[in-house]
């Protein structure tokens, strides 16, 4: 469906936003994971035909989308990072506007989408009074209004409360069937339950792309658990890559990742957060395994 071949984006200052990324994606929900500044947004902007790569090739269904962007735009739904709204418009007016830009005719589809994202009861309310979660739901509604086969959502859960995040995840997993959905985030829990594959980026480059189970297998044998004193924890914080720490009466229960246990610890089954931390810090080894 989507093929990215040696794509790079170089800025005028000479630094790279994305460097030599190659990927081949079929339908399903793809999680794009990476820390802030990893190049996720730049890559997605190139896929959304908003900016051009400085080198490389992107094809969708065999069509070069850099040369013929409109071929993809008709089938694309895009929700950018830090998505804003026009405060003086109502939800209905806002969605009608984007429906028109996408060539969607009739009010029926707009009303349907408002119902899908549960905003139909506030359809005529000014967007200035919407919460962050409501705005994000409206954002996903505009992305889906043209019934796209390729959906790009960039950091959609930033700033949402836990309930809204779960709701948003559910909407995405529902729409993922038969479509290609790329969901970018730096929050592991956003994608671990819904992604069929996870691509991990760091400093503009693609570290790995694999199924969640494969990533977990890659971290197997490299995740440890131990109970340490508070004083010891303060010291270890700077030397170990700790993925979680919980204070309990018997001490601080820590989970950490690394090629080998640096302190006395028990090996444990990796979770996605551990696998991500391991990839970020010991990426070369982990990617080889994946």
């Amino acid at each position: 469906m989507l093929k990215i071949e040696a794509v790079s984006k170089r800025f005028r200052a000479g630094n790279y936003g994305v460097r030599d990324v190659s990927l081949e994606l079929k339908s399903g929900v793809i999680g794009l994971l990476g820390p802030n500044g990893a190049g996720k947004t730049t890559l997605l902007q190139m896929l959304a035909t908003v900016t051009r790569p400085t080198s490389g090739r992107i094809t969708f269904g065999g069509v070069d989308i850099v040369a013929r962007p409109n071929e993809l735009r008709r089938k694309l739904g895009y929700l950018p990072q830090d998505f804003g709204v026009y405060d003086n418009l109502t939800a209905l007016e806002f969605l009608t506007y984007f429906a028109a830009l996408k060539g969607v005719h009739g009010k029926q589809r707009v009303v349907e989408m408002l119902e899908t994202v549960n905003l139909h009861t506030v359809a005529n309310r000014s967007l200035g009074g919407f919460s962050g979660g409501m705005k994000q739901r409206l954002g996903i509604a505009q992305a889906l209004i043209n019934d796209p086969v390729f959906v790009i959502v960039d950091e959609p859960t930033a700033g949402l409360d836990p309930e809204e995040r779960v709701r948003f995840r559910n909407v995405l997993s529902e729409i993922g069937f038969g479509k290609l959905v790329i969901l970018s985030t730096h929050i592991v829990s956003d994608i671990e339950s819904i992604a069929t594959e996870i691509a991990v980026m760091k400093e503009g480059a693609l570290l790995t792309m694999a199924a969640p189970e494969t990533l977990l297998r890659g971290a197997a044998g490299h995740v440890w658990q131990s109970v340490v004193s508070s004083e010891e924890f303060d010291r270890l914080r700077t030397t170990l890559k700790i993925s979680s720490a919980i204070r309990k009466p018997d001490g601080v229960h820590i989970r950490f990742v690394g090629p080998a246990a640096a302190i006395s610890a028990t090996p444990v089954e990796p979770e996605m957060e551990d696998a991500f931390l391991y990839l970020m810090n010991f990426g070369d080894t982990a990617a080889r395994v994946a």
Binding site: A48, T49, V50, T51, D82, Y97
Partner: protein, 523 residues
């Protein structure tokens, strides 16, 4: 309707709704209507809308229609640009533009939609102004209303200006280099150049006939028609003094002479050439070209200039900052003023420039108008920047700032204004206590109006447009009307003038405080 037309119509509709739902639109409209009221004084005051060789023109549809249409044309030409030149920027900031760029919408459709959106807004705005001006005929008219004659004046004078401004706004917004303040400044000279050409054609006695096709303002056409109809070039429009002993003249209004048909049509069509030009430069919301990436080379030129003067402002801030320490309300005011100096080092450069110019004896009537124009730009930012930056919630968490936001911003604007005008204030003291009082009231007026409009509309441009319109009238009046000499630029203000502007300042602040409290109560 096909997809293309549907997209264009959607852009026009969205822009229309967004603009007409803004409180700033209503404020500007009411103020423009108030200007119409001032421009058409009752003849019993010794002033009239049109004065011809000392005669006044009778208030009929032709005279009032032409007079107010020319006022509307000046508004559209000079300030309409500043009102509409944020259509593309709004899409960049909200990131809705990025979404639009990922749709099948063509760049040409988007630009045409924005152009038609600008056009619709300005035309509707002027149509509303025309109707309110027609109402003036009922109040002060000396002849029955002739709607066709009235509308004809607007149709002959304003369409080219509306098309020109709408197209230039799209062009300038499409070129990242011109999309900001440099475009704002350049536009003023752009408009003035074409205005000068139109006048030049008339002064040269028709030797620059080609300039008629560039008469976007309709000013050349108006002068030519009035000269022909009235057989004189001594005409003034807008609350002008006349000789009550001379018989009033009947001015039938402008008509389209055959030799003007072609130039008027061309002047409406020529600005359309800016649209394909805009298409060549349009960034289509590419984050690299709009500067919305982490790439630091994208900083705008003004930012680069500001950073050049950072060392100067840093030293000044280091000296001033100790006064901002503490929990008092005054410390908070001082801190906000110092923040302006930190954000805009050019304010420090302006302070140095004003001080040097004052010491070197630059005439007050030349220097002060420039100082106040600069002051307006600084003050407009103070009460609006927090909402733009999204820091309102943080500020509301600080002691007293939530309830006393208006007074806090007023204090900050006053501190900055007094710092900037320190040298002129000291110099005015040499001219006497009244000159100092007039200047101080002028400063308070600008600070109060800037704060009030900023708080009520959350948009810096409202105050800039309103104040610069007023400033333009004041500077052109050059002290002829003591009531307009609000800050003693021309030493013509009286104690009534000072009282008037002090009262207006209090009224503006009261309105802003009531509005702010209402907003807090609703939150």
């Amino acid at each position: 309707m096909n997809d293309s037309l549907q997209r264009i119509a959607a852009i026009v509709r969205a822009d229309f709704l967004l603009r007409f739902r803004r409180p700033s639109t209503l404020i500007v409209f009411l103020l423009l209507s108030a200007f119409a009221y001032l421009w058409i004084p009752a003849p019993s005051t010794g002033r009239a809308l049109i004065q011809i060789n000392g005669h006044r023109a009778i208030y009929n549809s032709g005279a009032i229609g032409m007079g107010t249409a020319s006022l509307g044309m000046m508004f559209v030409g000079l300030f309409g640009y500043y009102v509409i030149s944020n259509a593309i920027r709004r899409d960049i900031v909200s990131r809705c533009g990025v979404i639009a760029a990922s749709t099948p919408m063509r760049s040409g459709e988007y630009l045409l939609g924005k152009f038609l959106g600008n056009l619709t807004f300005l035309a509707t705005f002027l149509a509303g102004f025309m109707l309110s001006s027609m109402a003036m005929l009922i109040v002060r008219g000396e002849a029955p209303i002739e709607p066709i004659v009235f509308v004809q004046q607007y149709l002959l004078l304003t369409p080219a200006a509306i098309i020109f401004v709408s197209a230039v706004a799209v062009l300038f917004e499409s070129i990242p280099f011109l999309a900001g303040k440099i475009g704002d400044v350049l536009y003023f000279f752009f408009w003035m150049t074409f205005l000068g050409l139109a006048v030049g054609d008339q002064v040269s006695g028709g030797k620059m006939n080609w300039a008629r096709c560039l008469d976007f303002s309709g000013f050349g056409f108006m002068i030519d028609q009035m000269t022909r109809t009235l057989h004189t070039d001594s005409v003034s429009i807008g609350a002008s003094e006349f000789d009550p002993t001379k018989t009033p003249i009947l001015f039938p209004g402008l008509t389209l002479q055959p030799e003007w048909i072609f130039p008027r049509i061309i002047s409406m069509l020529l600005p359309l050439l800016f649209l394909p030009l805009a298409g060549l430069f349009f960034h289509r919301f590419d984050p690299v070209r709009t500067g919305r990436t982490s790439d630091k080379t994208n900083r705008k030129w003004i930012g680069k200039i500001q950073s050049l003067f950072k060392p100067l402002s840093r030293r000044a801030v280091m000296m001033l900052m100790p006064l901002a320490r503490g929990q008092s309300f005054l410390a908070a005011i001082w801190a906000d003023a110092v923040l302006t100096l930190t954000l805009y080092p050019l304010v420090m450069v302006a302070f140095v420039g004003i001080t040097i110019a004052t010491i070197s004896g630059a005439p007050q009537d030349g220097l002060l108008p420039i100082v106040f124009a600069g002051l307006a730009i600084v003050v407009s930012d103070v009460s609006t920047r927090d909402r733009r930056a999204g820091t309102i919630a943080i500020l509301h968490g600080a002691p007293r700032l939530r309830e006393y936001f208006v007074w806090w911003k007023l204090g900050s604007a006053l501190v900055l204004s007094i710092i900037l005008c320190l040298a002129p204030i000291l110099r005015s003291a040499l001219d006497g206590l009244f000159a100092t009082a007039a200047l101080l009231v002028g400063i308070v007026f600008v600070s109060a109006l800037g704060t009030a409009l900023g708080v009520m509309t959350t948009n810096a441009k409202t105050f800039i447009v309103v104040f610069l319109s007023f400033w333009y009238v004041v500077v052109n009046d050059h002290g002829a009307t003591p009531t307009l000499d609000f800050a003693g630029f021309y030493d013509r203000g009286t104690s009534q003038t000072t009282f008037l502007y002090a009262s207006l300042s209090i009224a503006a602040l009261t309105a802003a405080q009531l509005f702010h409290r209402w907003k807090l109560a609703r939150a």
